[in-house]
């Protein structure tokens, strides 16, 4: 069982929502579509489901061209970000509906519904109407309806985005388990890099209608193919700095420079874009041999055990994530430190020139 998108694109009213995209999703894989709002995650999913027709390209399911096949005849299930259930039907009827349409025997339907409901912890609620359930239960009901169908392709479009924090964590822990049991191709859209890392599997990063990279999730995280992927797959986004390599020094800003340490020393002379993740920005040098940058503190956000520091360096706004509560004075000049092992170097056009050396070791 494979789903192949072959040069699929989507154009609405002359505006391109999805640029020609080719992806191959294998049987029994969890595939995360990661990208900010409007990146095209939902559009891509709707193409996979058959709810929209692609402007160009083919969709191949198990070697069969299904591009023009009706959504009813495709073997797919989908869960939306909004909790979509049939309000006039009971939970039991909701979960049973795909099986009823398929005209399965009554006893089989009842057994399948009971089993799925137990899996989604909806046991005692089968007689209720969906609107009499809590948000988490409503979404479980939608998930149950998607699972009971035993579809080969299960599309989850930000299924947890409208849930509160606690429920989200709970359901997120359950989804990989459910996925293991089903053996279907799962596609999971999310805006949160953290969610992609927790779900594992493969990740496709999307940016403005293009898939910038597709591969195993940890690989995409550690070796982003370009600056855009690195920005998408980092929350808060990756910090960037324009640099030039000249001899054994890195030049940046207006005539400032630091020694090119570690792997950075091996770069050819030229202009580059350097990037590092917020959690790698340090307020105290962790060890000698770190790059040091003068900066001005503009804002801090304290989240309990961690502090986000927003700093201005030259014309750039950087964000750092540091442990502990730091009560720092706004507008204060300070020096921030970055281990050269944590620095990704991108060409000026964005392609990766050298991955951070820590990521290669991992």
């Amino acid at each position: 069982m494979t789903l192949v998108l072959d040069n699929v694109s989507k154009v609405v009213d002359g505006r391109t929502h999805i640029y020609p995209t080719s992806l191959t999703l294998e049987k029994g894989t969890m595939n995360v579509l990661l990208g900010p709002t409007l990146a095209g995650k939902t559009s891509l999913m709707r193409l996979m489901a058959g709810l929209d027709k692609p402007a160009t390209g083919r969709i191949v399911w198990n070697g069969e061209d299904v591009t023009d096949r009706r959504v009813q005849d495709r073997n797919v299930a989908m869960v939306y970000q909004q909790f979509v259930n049939y309000p006039t039907l009971s939970v039991w009827e909701n979960i049973a509906s795909p099986l009823k349409v398929a005209r399965r025997p009554r006893a089989e339907i009842d057994a399948a519904v009971k089993k799925t409901a137990a899996l989604m912890k909806l046991d005692g609620l089968l007689d209720r109407k969906p609107l009499e359930l809590s948000g988490g239960q409503q979404q479980r009901c939608a998930l149950a309806r998607a699972l009971v169908k035993d579809a080969g392709l299960v599309l989850l479009d930000e299924p947890l985005a409208n849930l509160d924090y606690k429920l989200r964590e709970e359901l997120r822990a359950e989804i990989p388990r459910i996925f293991e049991e089903s053996g279907a191709i799962f596609v999971y859209a999310t805006t949160e890099p953290e969610e992609a890392l927790l779900l594992g599997g493969n990740t496709a990063t999307l940016w403005e209608g293009r898939v910038t990279q597709f591969g195993r999730t940890p690989d995409v995280y550690r070796r982003p193919a370009d600056a855009v992927t690195a920005r998408v797959f980092s929350d808060p986004p990756m910090n960037f700095l324009k640099i030039a390599k000249a001899g054994d020094r890195l030049l940046f800003g207006e005539g400032q420079s630091v020694p090119a340490l570690g792997a950075l020393g091996a770069l050819k002379d030229g202009r580059y874009l350097a990037g590092f993740r917020p959690n790698h920005l340090e307020l105290e040098p962790p060890h000698p041999g770190c790059l040091a940058f003068p900066a001005v503190l503009s804002e801090t956000e304290i989240t309990g055990s961690e502090t986000y520091v927003h700093i201005d360096h030259g014309g750039e706004r950087w964000v750092g994530l540091v442990h502990g509560v730091r009560a720092l004075e706004h507008g204060r000049a300070l020096t921030v430190h970055v281990d050269p092992a944590h620095v990704y170097v991108f060409e000026e056009d964005g392609a990766l020139a050298a991955p951070a050396s820590y990521a290669l070791a991992a």
Partner: protein, 289 residues
Amino acid sequence: MAQAAVVRAQGATLARTSAAAGPRVKTSAVVMTLYLVFLLLPIYWLFNMSLKDNSEILSSFSLWPQEPTLDNYRTILTDASWYMGYVNSMIYVVMNTVISVTVALPAAYAFSRYRFMGDKHLFFWLLTNRMAPPAVFALPFFQLYSAVGLFDTHIAVALAHCLFNVPLAVWILEGFMRGVPKEIDETAYIDGYSFPRFFVKIFMPLIASGIGVAAFFAFMFSWVELLLSRTLTSVDAKPIAATMTRTVSASGLDWGVLAAAGILTIVPGALVIWFVRNYIAKGFALGRV
């Protein structure tokens, strides 16, 4: 329930105030009573007349019947020329209601779900059909139906009333349908529902109250419309309203029977309104609240 409790509480407050400071409360109660009397007076007077005989109606002024009689009602319920008026009216009103809702359902679905060329103009144009007085259409309908042999049939009146009931039903249903998220349609397709099955099994129950309201409005406008129904019928499909306006016998007007007919004409509307009372406001807002 809650509203009733609030009203009672207000009443209690008012009563206390009245005990203390008198006149203000009495004013509001008096105004309210006057208003209700003003509204109900014609209906009461009709009812009053329907229980009297002609001589009492014409000869004396009495606030209630001196010798109450049901003769007038008996006349209507036994004389075919009278009760067939009700039967005819009911037939074409029900026909019209069924046709209007059946035709408007798919149209409203299209307007609420698809974008197509000129959809907004067409949608507005539908409503403009309600802006012309029926008299405008009486002549073309009369000539057309006479030519094709539909004159004096129930279906003729039912179809003529579609002219203003279909647009109204489309607008009301579209408002209700717009409140149903499109994702429900798509989920149903993904679940494997064909369009007709989805529409009947999933979608129509979701907008059941809208269908009820649309049917009520179609019923109401068709029931009260006089001009077209009178123009397009003569004997076989003559509606009750036309019968009432033509009842002048050799001995003058038969006041009592006419009054009884009036009371009986109010009843179906009042009955139907009872069933949709909770949705009427939404219906008047064309489903857009």
